[in-house]
């Protein structure tokens, strides 16, 4: 569903947009300073899981919305993987029509309250804002505004349940309840399909639930979205592993006509260095799952979690940042990031790095673990690290870290969280030998249709892309729904 220039232009010429543009001169608009979202102060927030960002007040949001120039060529849209009509929703905010703004978001994004919080805006929409590109000024705070509109709608209690077409009785199955699966399910339900989402874990939401911590994305926000899907008629089966509890053939016999796999890239990687299996060394998935999904830090739950005083987290992505900030909240005196490149190459969202720094996280950059040591009970107590320097750029375009001979030194640690990447979940490929996969284990799909080598199987999100982002997973869910719809209708009419 590509957004055409003509369509955007026609929208921009609507009288309400023309009126609101006329309210202020562009010069006055560009003179305004970017709003800064309130945050809970670091000393206080590390004592609990309270959300760090407080969100914008209505007047702050309107002020920020005034900065947007409603550009004739809104380059920001090209930076958004789902092409949200950014100026349109922002002008609705300026107009004080917050519920209308939320509706604009919902035209293309199924989970705006989530994306407003976790999108790497500085690399996407905001990177393409006119302010950033041409004026060399801070971009319009698109992410903050998106969150504001979505939160306003939710808190107003007037959340609209999207219109659902009359049921067509066609059963489709969704494997995995992460952002890809949820978005797909919502779109198919709107088209009148009978949709069931199968989820291996006991909770619905994928990484949004078991991975991203409460202090960044409260579970309740995800639950509200899931509730809406339920109201639209989507069925959820948790504790159901497709390929195990039942396989695709069984489900076909039960009447499912087509499937969407959004099973994610959830397998942790380790570095395979000596001592890595000592007690106290765990994957970020295990650490975050214990704390987020099992609520292990809460004394009322049965699941235990180790919470060390000297915690080293290996890696520089969002997962590493979430782990290290979790460690701080579990009472670590020293919570360290150990990353083999420099601050500039760090893949985590800029905001998370900033928040981590404010919270007293130490960054040991250009540094890589080489070995772990343990006490007589097998519990890790020390690690050897090696310094690195940056050499030539590698295939990813980032400068390759090169170990410096003789630079090794030891650090005392009692907990190590390994967060050096994830691999695709092999369950679905393994249970379907005819399914074409890459050498990395991701599912091969047609780029546009997201159809796999098995015609009735579509796929998207991390299982196709490897570890990517929430918004890309959602975009895939949306595109897959559109092309599965075409596929099923053609099949039916032939």
């Amino acid at each position: 569903m590509a957004v055409t220039k003509e369509f955007l232009k026609a929208e921009r010429e609507q009288s309400w947009r023309v009126d609101i543009r006329g309210l202020m001169k562009n010069k006055d608009r560009t003179g305004l300073a970017r709003v800064h979202m309130g945050e809970v102060n670091p000393d206080e927030r590390i004592l609990s899981n309270i959300e760090v960002n407080k969100g914008l007040e209505a007047d702050e949001a309107v002020n920020e919305a005034r900065r947007c120039l409603d550009c004739p060529d809104p380059t920001c849209i090209s930076g958004c993987p789902v092409e949200i009509n950014i100026p349109k929703f922002i002008k609705r905010i300026e107009q004080n029509e917050f519920l209308e703004a939320a509706k604009v978001l919902k035209e293309t994004s199924a989970l705006p309250a989530v994306c407003g919080r976790v999108c790497p805006q500085e690399k996407q929409c905001e990177a393409k804002c006119f302010y950033q590109l041409k004026l060399k000024k801070e971009p319009v705070a698109i992410g903050h505004l998106e969150r504001f509109a979505a939160d306003f709608e939710r808190e107003s209690g007037k959340m609209s349940v999207p219109d659902v077409a009359a049921g067509n009785g066609i059963k489709v199955g969704v494997i995995g309840s992460g952002p890809a699966g949820l978005t797909f399910a919502g779109d198919m339900a709107k088209l009148g399909y009978d949709v069931t989402v199968f989820e291996a874990l006991h909770e619905i939401g994928g990484v949004l639930k078991y991975g991203i911590p409460e202090f960044r994305l409260p579970n309740q926000i995800v639950d509200v979205e899931i509730d809406i899907l339920r109201k639209m008629g989507v069925k959820f089966e948790n504790n159901f592993i497709v390929g195990r509890t039942a396989n695709i053939e069984d489900l076909k016999e039960e009447g499912y006509q087509a499937f969407f796999t959004g099973s994610g890239a959830g397998l942790p990687r380790f570095m395979n260095i000596p001592g890595e299996n000592y007690i106290g060394i765990l994957s970020s998935n295990e650490y975050l799952t214990r704390v987020n999904l099992m609520d292990a830090a809460n004394p009322k739950t049965d699941t235990p979690v180790v919470s060390g005083k000297n915690v080293a987290v290996i890696g520089g992505g969002n997962t590493a940042m979430d782990s290290v900030r979790t460690a701080k909240r579990l009472g670590a005196d020293r919570a360290m990031i150990i990353y083999r490149r420099s601050m500039d190459e760090m893949p985590a969202r800029v905001e998370e790095i900033k928040h981590a720094q404010e919270e007293g996280i130490e960054f040991l950059n250009l540094c890589n673990p080489v070995e772990y040591f343990a006490d007589e009970t097998g519990r890790v107590n020390r690690m050897k690290v090696q310094k690195m320097e940056l050499g030539e750029p590698d295939s990813s375009g980032r400068r390759r870290p090169v170990p410096m001979e003789g630079s090794e030194y030891d650090i005392d640690v009692d907990t190590v969280v390994v967060s050096v990447g994830v691999s695709p979940n092999p369950l679905i490929p393994n249970s379907l030998p005819q399914l074409e996969t890459t050498k990395w284990g991701t599912i091969v799909v047609d780029e546009e249709k997201l159809q796999s080598s098995i015609p009735e199987m579509f796929a998207g999100g991390d299982i196709v892309r490897g570890g990517a982002t929430v918004i890309l997973a959602m975009g895939d869910g949306r595109n897959a729904a559109a092309s599965m719809h075409t596929y099923l209708q053609e099949k039916l009419n032939s």
């Binding site: 195990r244 214990r290 009322k300 097998g378 979940n425």
Partner: protein, 277 residues
């Protein structure tokens, strides 16, 4: 969902539950396990499917009470529902006619051994089974094991039943007496370690079913990882059965103790709050 339809005590601390779970009953093979969680705040723990009845749509679990979570399950009664039950998980046991098989189960390890013994017998093997426990009260499933074994040797540490001695004593006797083609051992890690050392002397291929700590049971966390032949493996997806002669049991024993202190404390608190009620 997951309703308990039968409950039986094998001993004070070992209980058998038959649970309605039609899909799992249909899909499971010998060697598979499930992950169970009781209550909203419960922990996810792995339990072997001891047997299943696809016609009735039920699976049977045998649970030994060792800590908080196993107690919570053992305390459920007929009519109760298990909050979360997922499976079948793990790789199924490779079954064929090997010839003579020496199967050994220690403690509650006899429960996961039962479906394997049954499958081996049905595949035409001569099955010699050793079941062992600390004392008479802890010997479980003797009759069921007998049904599918050509010979059963019962061992107790204190001699209160069967012969006095360890699993490995009985194993030695059999291995000296006749040619064994395969051995399967399931029980506490320490027992499996010594059982593996015993069969290694006689160069008998041996499988051990490992019971590591797990969280998700689907390969997502790595809590269950162990070293086999120098390589890291995940018990939940690569196992739970491995070549016992390649497993680093010492590392596994250390890792099993990873949460011991927290668990002990949790159990004490649990028992105290129960007393208050």
């Amino acid at each position: 969902m997951n309703e308990i339809i039968e409950k039986e005590f094998f001993s004070e601390n070992v209980v058998r539950l038959e649970i309605k779970a039609p899909r799992i009953a249909k899909a499971r093979r010998a060697g598979h396990f499930v992950i169970v969680k009781v209550g909203e705040t419960g922990e996810r723990i792995p339990l072997t499917i001891a047997s299943a009845n696809p016609h009735k749509g039920t699976i049977t679990l045998v649970i030994q009470r060792v800590g908080v979570s196993s107690r919570r399950i053992a305390e459920l009664n007929v009519g109760d529902e298990i909050t979360d039950l997922v499976g079948p998980l793990g790789e199924a046991t490779h079954i064929e006619n090997f010839g003579t098989v020496l199967a050994c189960g220690g403690g509650v390890g006899v429960a996961p051994l039962l479906p394997i013994v049954e499958a081996l017998k049905k595949a035409g093997n001569k099955v010699i089974t050793v079941i062992a426990a600390r004392n008479k009260d802890l010997i479980i499933l003797e009759d069921q094991i007998k049904e599918y074994s050509d010979e059963v040797i019962v061992m107790t540490d204190d001699g209160s039943y069967g012969e006095k001695g360890l699993v490995t004593d009985a194993m030695e006797k059999v291995l000296q007496r006749e040619k064994v083609d395969l051995s399967v051992v399931i029980g506490p890690a320490i027992m499996m370690k010594f059982a593996a050392l015993t069969t290694r002397k006689y160069e008998v291929p041996t499988y051990a079913s490992l019971n590591t700590i797990m969280v998700d049971g689907t390969g997502m966390c790595g809590a269950c990882r162990i070293t086999v032949g120098g390589k890291t493996k995940f018990v939940c997806i690569d196992g739970p059965e491995f070549d016992a002669h390649q497993v680093d049991f010492d590392e596994m024993l250390l890792r099993l103790g990873g949460y011991k202190e927290i668990e002990k404390q949790a159990e004490q608190e649990y028992l105290q709050t129960k007393e208050k009620k």
